[in-house]
């Protein structure tokens, strides 16, 4: 991959169509973008954005349609062809080999550094230094990828793509794993770079789209439903176009008066997968009838916290007191029976058995209960009745309750899980990233379900990296950082900025006076 032969001045897509088995991912899409311009491509998950970009990069072949660069029709068979014409992409899931250095990752793509039996790794490092200086994207070429934070990896991806000679950058949800500060920083850098490049910016965060892009195209179900200049449209208008209907996500309008303490976590220490203490003295208190948001950049112990609460990971020390009983190191069965509900992070592998039918997944935790079994045989009739009822109540959209659950959309899988957990009548519910990657309609439903349970007096721990979600739903928000709760804020105190600063691990400098009755004595505040 050498630098592009000529600077790219225009990329045009016409009538791009791509089918996957059972899905029409792209349906006659036409788009164009020019040098010096930022085009935002907006749409819900599954709208076909990423597929379309993979087609541009030559990773997928379109079933029909054409791509032209500077007015000349091109056919890319592999990403190398796209790079040769100056088109580069930063994928949502980073395309970096974790056990290699930054320079080695770049050297993979720079064929002119490949000599017989010799790899010019110094040349790659040199190139990285040049580009990172020119675009003010600091990167250490000798660092191993696995040692870098997500934000740093993002920078490496940008530098790598630029080193490969890209003049048209495709950025696929580049901010999805960043803290608010890192996001602002990235947007600012991109604004500076935009004058000499063309950028396609994919996102469903409309405030970022508004801040960065010149034009916006909206995809829905694989087709372009809207083209326009960003400046002329309000985010709410774009949101309605994106989902096809007016969306108003429900908010927690609670009085802030919670019930009795339900769950208290004390000095919890849990090891992560690499043997380090991913939770290092975590304190938290949950009350009945409140939503306690746990905000933080992913990788700060959220997964380990959820695992420990569900009994899936051994607790080294500390207590999980649930209604006076210590659940630390109890088996998942004991924890389930004690009245704890759990909506796991990875819905496909932990939440359901994908090949089981919807009705079987709905009784996964109660298959041995009297209700669903007779003389240790499954009581099919009551299982069917249960499924039909929950399908109705939770608006689970499936052809029948005998359909394999794995075949449903993410939103509907999540509804199956939520239905199962709520139908069991839990006293507390742990929901981990409950709306990650699901469309706004299902998101709306899940949010209102959670708030309804809160009104019924269930205590809910909501672990999420989406600030909007946490702020909309929570009574109190605990910020988790490096395995500890850095601070617990009441919903009134919690602003985007304050949470962002805390999530980055910076001390909260000037706490405003506690507002109203909603601020409870914060269990974790001792760890500031």
């Amino acid at each position: 991959m050498t630098a592009a032969a000529e600077p790219i001045s225009e990329l045009k897509l016409e009538g791009i169509t791509k089918r996957f088995p059972g899905v029409l991912a792209c349906d006659g899409i036409s788009l164009d973008v020019r040098r010096g311009e930022v085009l935002a491509l907006v749409g819900e998950n599954g709208a076909g954005k990423t597929t379309l970009m993979n087609i541009i990069m030559g990773l997928y072949r379109p079933d029909s349609g054409s791509i032209s660069v500077n007015g000349e029709v091109v056919q890319f068979r592999a990403p190398g062809d796209a790079y040769a014409r100056g088109i580069g992409m930063v994928h949502q899931h980073f395309m970096l080999v974790p056990n290699m250095t930054v320079a080695e990752n770049l050297a993979l793509g720079l064929k002119d550094l490949h000599h017989f039996m010799r790899l010019d790794i110094k040349g790659a490092a040199q190139k990285i230094r040049e580009v990172s200086e020119r675009y003010e994207l600091p990167v250490n070429p000798d660092a191993y990828i696995w040692q870098l934070s997500v934000g740093e990896q993002q920078r490496v991806e940008l530098v790598k793509t630029l080193c490969l000679g890209a003049k048209l950058l495709i950025l696929d949800e580049p901010t999805s794993a960043l803290t608010p500060q890192e996001t602002d920083d990235l947007i600012e850098r991109l604004q500076r770079m935009a004058s000499e490049l063309a950028i396609i910016f994919i996102s469903h965060k409309l405030n970022e789209v508004k801040a960065l892009s010149d034009r916006v195209s909206i995809l829905r179900h694989g087709a372009v439903v809207f083209n326009g200049h960003t400046a002329n449209h309000e985010p709410s208008e774009l949101a309605a176009l994106m989902t096809g209907h007016e969306v108003t996500l429900p908010r927690n309008e609670g009085s802030g008066l919670q019930g009795t303490p339900l769950l208290s976590v004390r000095q919890l220490r849990v090891r992560g997968d690499r043997g380090n203490f991913a939770l290092d003295g975590l304190d938290l208190e949950l009350r009945a009838g409140e939503v306690l948001g746990v905000a933080g950049v992913s990788g700060n112990g959220q997964r380990e916290f959820a695992d420990a609460l569900a009994g899936l990971r051994p607790v080294e020390s500390g207590e999980i007191l649930f209604q006076g009983r210590n659940l630390a190191n109890k088996t998942p069965r004991e924890i389930i029976d004690s009245g704890m509900g759990y909506v796991p992070e990875d819905r496909q592998t932990e939440g359901i058995v994908p090949s089981f039918s919807v009705k079987d997944n709905l009784i996964l935790k109660d298959f041995a209960a009297k209700k669903f079994s007779k003389l240790s045989f499954l009581a099919r009739k009551s299982i069917d009745r249960n499924a039909e009822q929950l399908k109705e109540q939770f608006d689970i959209r499936c052809p029948s309750t005998s359909t394999a659950t794995g075949a449903l959309s993410g939103g509907n899988i999540q509804k199956v899980i939520l239905a199962r957990e709520i139908a069991r009548g839990p006293k507390a519910l742990v929901a981990v990233y409950p709306t990650r990657g699901i469309d706004m309609g299902a998101q709306e439903f899940i949010h209102s379900q959670l708030l309804e349970r809160r009104r019924e007096g269930i205590g809910i721990i909501l672990i999420s990296e989406e600030l909007e979600e946490v702020m909309n739903l929570s009574d109190r928000i605990a910020v988790i950082y490096k395995g500890r709760i850095l601070k617990v804020l009441s919903a009134v105190e919690a602003t985007r900025e304050r949470l962002g600063i805390l999530m980055a691990g910076l001390a909260d400098t000037d706490p405003p006076p506690a507002a109203g009755a909603s601020s409870l004595p914060a269990a974790g505040a001792a760890h500031e």
């Binding site: 990403p79 190398g80 790079y83 000599h115």
Partner: protein, 316 residues
């Protein structure tokens, strides 16, 4: 017998024992680094052993006789590479399960070599084979000379293959590609690396090395062929790759540990130490199992996509 003589004997014997598993494991390491584990290594070694024996055996007495051994080694590598490519066809192009395909390949190599041998040769026959080549001067060094510099030429080759594989993996463009396709094939693909092609190449090289390892057994060690010559060494080689955490130096360490254990148990029998020899024979294998079971699974630096076929159009 004094202890130092005993140690000397054990070490002298350990080096030849380590050659075949070392070469095969270094080859398997290329396979696994590229993301494909080839359980058929053992079968490829059988084929290599067969051809390594068969070529000099047939050429004996003819005009080509002086080149017999060399052609035997070459033939073994060629048949190994061919089996490697066959395995690539099945697992990379057709994306068959690597475990099952590997067991199939092992049975194919084992059965085919035995059948061909019985058909063309039959009974027990020897070849002259490749003789020991003491290195001038160096082999005269007391103790070390005997342990390190008084071996078959292929033994020296095997030990030189350790730094050579390291160099190939870490210092050449090809090695970079191999490591990338075994760890994050999609990333490699987006960087213009041909994932399948690189895996084919790695499997061909790994196969050729397994073939060479087999030829060492027939041509250098036993100087004959039989069905049970390889005796599961291919599986030991696969285990050594895990043991050595995909690093050539680690693999060398594992190969030496295993062969020292083996030569120790043989020596024990020779010394007449009262110990059920069945247990002694088990020792090296037990050692490998114990070490593998205890080894912590730090795969941070290993090929994390090992065993998974790559399909560009598969969605996340």
């Amino acid at each position: 017998m004094s202890p130092d003589v005993m140690i000397y004997n054990v070490l002298c014997l350990a080096v030849p024992f380590s050659v075949a598993i070392l070469i095969a494991a270094l080859g398997e390491n290329f396979n696994q680094r590229a993301g494909v584990f080839n359980l058929g290594c053992d079968g490829i070694m059988c084929m290599g052993a067969y051809l390594g024996f068969m070529l000099p055996y047939t050429l004996k007495g003819g005009v080509m006789a002086p080149y017999g051994n060399f052609l035997g080694l070459l033939g073994a590598m060629a048949v190994g590479a061919a089996f490697g490519l066959l395995f690539a066809l099945v697992t990379v192009t057709f994306r068959a399960s690597q475990g099952i395909a590997g067991i199939g390949l092992q049975m194919l190599g084992w059965g085919l070599s035995g059948t061909l041998f019985r058909h063309f040769v039959g009974g027990v026959t020897g070849v002259e084979g490749i003789q020991i080549l003491p290195i001038p001067y160096l082999s005269k060094i007391p103790f070390l000379g005997g342990v390190l510099f008084n071996h078959n030429p292929l033994a020296y080759v095997a030990f030189l293959l350790v730094p050579a594989s390291w160099f190939l993996l870490y210092k050449t463009p090809w090695g970079l590609k191999v490591r990338a396709v075994g760890t994050h094939p999609r990333a490699a693909d987006t960087m213009g690396i041909h994932v399948d092609r690189t895996r084919y190449q790695a499997l061909a090289l790994g196969g050729a090395m397994a073939g060479l390892a087999g030829a060492y057994l027939s041509l250098c060690q036993a100087k004959m062929f039989s069905d049970d010559l390889v005796a599961g060494r291919g599986f030991i080689a696969v285990a050594l790759v895990y043991f050595g955490r995909w690093s050539p130096l680690g693999i060398l360490g594992g190969a030496l540990l295993f062969s020292i254990a083996q030569s120790f148990q043989l020596s024990m029998q020779v010394w007449g130490i009262k110990f059920p020899y069945e247990f002694a024979v088990m020792l090296p294998y037990v050692l490998v199992i114990v070490v593998l079971a205890l080894a912590r699974k730090a795969r941070q630096l290993g090929p994390t996509d090992l065993g998974k076929p790559y399909n560009r159009e598969m969605r996340f």
